[in-house]
Symmetry: C2
Subunit: 386 residues, 2 copies
């Protein structure tokens, strides 16, 4: 397999865009990434998106965004894997270059949600779950995660209040990320008073729906100058699935697709977890943060709830997470999230993060994008030139 | 790039399935293909589908079908490119094997439409077009094709009645395909009396919506015994796009994405159009048949309307088309259609088609799957062992 590298990144700030369409957001992120890469052509475009059909009555985003961005004719298609659509599109872009068929491709993640807030967006998000055996019974996506958290609190001996530290950390970092949705910290007191959404998940345990688009430009590694400090190598991109319905899993708290995708990614990259300088995890809900740390093999969920108190996951800690705000602070424009994570990891590896949230001398970064309640997981390992 | 081969094909008959879900149809086609291949494992699954979110309130088909078919854990995702979703998923499966990362993958196309007949299915299909500048004005998908046909009749000197010969040919072949939706011939008289849908397109110019699923199993060519007559080599798979909206095209009758994808496919395969033994074209509407013959470089649309009278496109003709019934006779389960075309071409290349529709000694087959009004086109070239 041909080795591949990321030579450009682009994004639009995560916001509510009531005046911009899917194509405008997607094309803007793509053109920003091309400008960053110093390129003006691509020969492939892979668009990650989950809900454009259901919400915006628009499918065919591959041709739509290629056309609008000025690349009419180019090979392009949409990839969907629920909330993991972004990283799944990235994975397809990597394979296209790795196969030797493509020389310069873009992976773009894009989603518009906020104009459909309330019931409609909630129903669309639930399409990530099992329509016949979960959603049809009235389960929303947050309710499914609440079942998992309920079980966690039943099985494990932890202090419920410690969950607060994950969204607090995410918001603390998001303050410094100009592309994040939220630029305010949250206090423990605010967390304690937050409205209950689906017990035991409260409002501040939940990442917000958002609009956004992010893009990366990928080329064969041999086509770039290795001494260019802005180049980031893609050491691994691994996708694994699990049963889509929670009730089909023998162990509700075990994210097997996380285990598998991390194992495949580490094997492929030839590194260990100890080598990681940062980990952009999928903190759609705070319960997902700790379960993904556990399933990734980093530490048990109980330990994570302790270690976060000691600053283990802070920017200056042993393994910084959600360095640019994570899903909770940056926002979760579903099909775009996986690409935002990669864009942020590249920013860190280049040393281009705003000073208070720049990880010191990062070498290896891992990102993890989770679809559904863990039914699709894509883990990516990147290496900077420092 | 690693060469790849198709070692198994599977399908469910194209029908109205009111009692079977997306996952049942998809898994059945997949398991049929594995049985045909003599395999019981895959390491990748690429699902082509367009409308599951909008119609069945179910996204995340990658994990859903992998799980239901008994391959929980395997890498899997959904690919969407409107009516070309099937062949686009096939293309991703080919790239995954070509990259050297996968050893045995499946491409599955699946769609359920008939339980949503009428306005709802029509609206969902229109998501292939430009939501902001076409669909929002009330244009349906058949109306867009009617605009193209209207323009064709204005620009070109042809006999309107000659269009009848394309659906008549398709139905004639479909009679012998047990997996086709329609098993009756249609007469010129029936065509003349057919209800007008969107002038000048009548009911028998239009392929029917349908439910269905089809699958192929793909492996590295070097992993199979070249003397096995059932193996079919994938010589090329090429995807090109065009502007999504009709009004953005300088020439309404020119399918530029067809031109590009055929050129790329022939170059990659190292053959010419003269080498083709059969062509499974995308006869969603009869106007699309003749325009794709023209844009593919086979002959002008006017010539096609003449040559069909001489039997040029019959099973025993110079270039058989729609050999198993095409979209018109087999039916058009949108996201599955591209895979049905490939399954049918493989059936022909193996010499396994029912006798009256078996092309004599076929060597090279071309399939073409068109999304939208030509905004995404995937052309595939296959070679049998005969």
């Amino acid at each position: 397999m041909e080795k591949v590298a990321i030579i450009g990144i682009g994004q639009v700030p995560v916001r509510e865009y009531w005046d911009k369409s899917l194509r405008e957001l997607g094309a803007r992120a793509l053109l920003n990434a091309l400008e960053d890469a110093g390129r003006d052509q691509i020969d492939g475009l892979y668009v990650g998106n989950m809900m454009s059909g259901t919400l915006s009555e628009q499918e065919h985003l591959g041709a739509l965004i290629a056309d609008y961005a000025g690349f009419t004719g180019v090979e392009s298609l949409k990839v969907e894997a629920a909330c993991a659509s972004g990283a799944a599109a990235f994975r397809q872009a990597v394979l296209a270059v790795a196969s030797g068929q493509k020389q310069c491709v873009a992976a773009v993640g894009v989603e518009k949600l906020t104009e459909f807030s309330g019931r409609r967006a909630s129903d669309a998000l639930a399409e990530a779950a099992d329509a016949d055996f979960e959603t049809s019974l009235g389960l929303t996506f947050v309710a499914l995660n609440a079942l998992v958290m309920q079980r966690f609190l039943y099985e494990r001996k932890v202090n419920r209040d410690d969950f607060a530290l994950f969204p607090m950390l995410a918001h603390r970092n998001a303050v410094h990320n100009p592309n994040a949705m939220f630029h305010h910290e949250i206090t423990f007191d605010q967390y304690k008073k937050a409205k209950m959404i689906a017990e035991p998940i409260n409002l501040l345990d939940s990442s917000p729906i958002a609009d956004g688009a992010a893009a990366v430009i990928i080329v064969p590694a041999k086509a770039v100058n290795a001494s260019n400090k802005r180049i980031v190598d893609v050491l691994a991109s691994a996708l694994a699935t699990d049963s889509i319905a929670l009730h089909d899993r023998p162990e509700l708290l075990r994210l097997k697709a996380v285990e598998q995708s991390v194992k495949r990614a580490l094997d492929s990259a030839g590194i260990t977890l100890r080598d990681l300088s940062l980990f952009e995890l999928h903190d759609a809900f705070s319960i997902m943060s700790i379960l993904s740390l556990e399933a990734s093999g980093i530490m048990s969920a109980e330990e994570a709830l302790q270690k976060i108190k000691e600053g283990y996951f802070d920017i200056s800690g042993s393994l910084p997470i959600a360095t640019m705000g994570g899903l909770k602070g940056r926002g979760h424009p579903v099909g775009a999230t996986g690409i935002y994570q990669i864009v942020e990891a590249v920013t860190q590896l280049r040393g281009q993060a705003p000073e208070p949230i720049q990880v010191a001398h990062p070498k290896y970064a891992m990102t993890q994008n989770i679809g559904g309640t863990g039914a699709t997981v894509v883990t990516t390992i990147l290496k900077g030139q420092n």
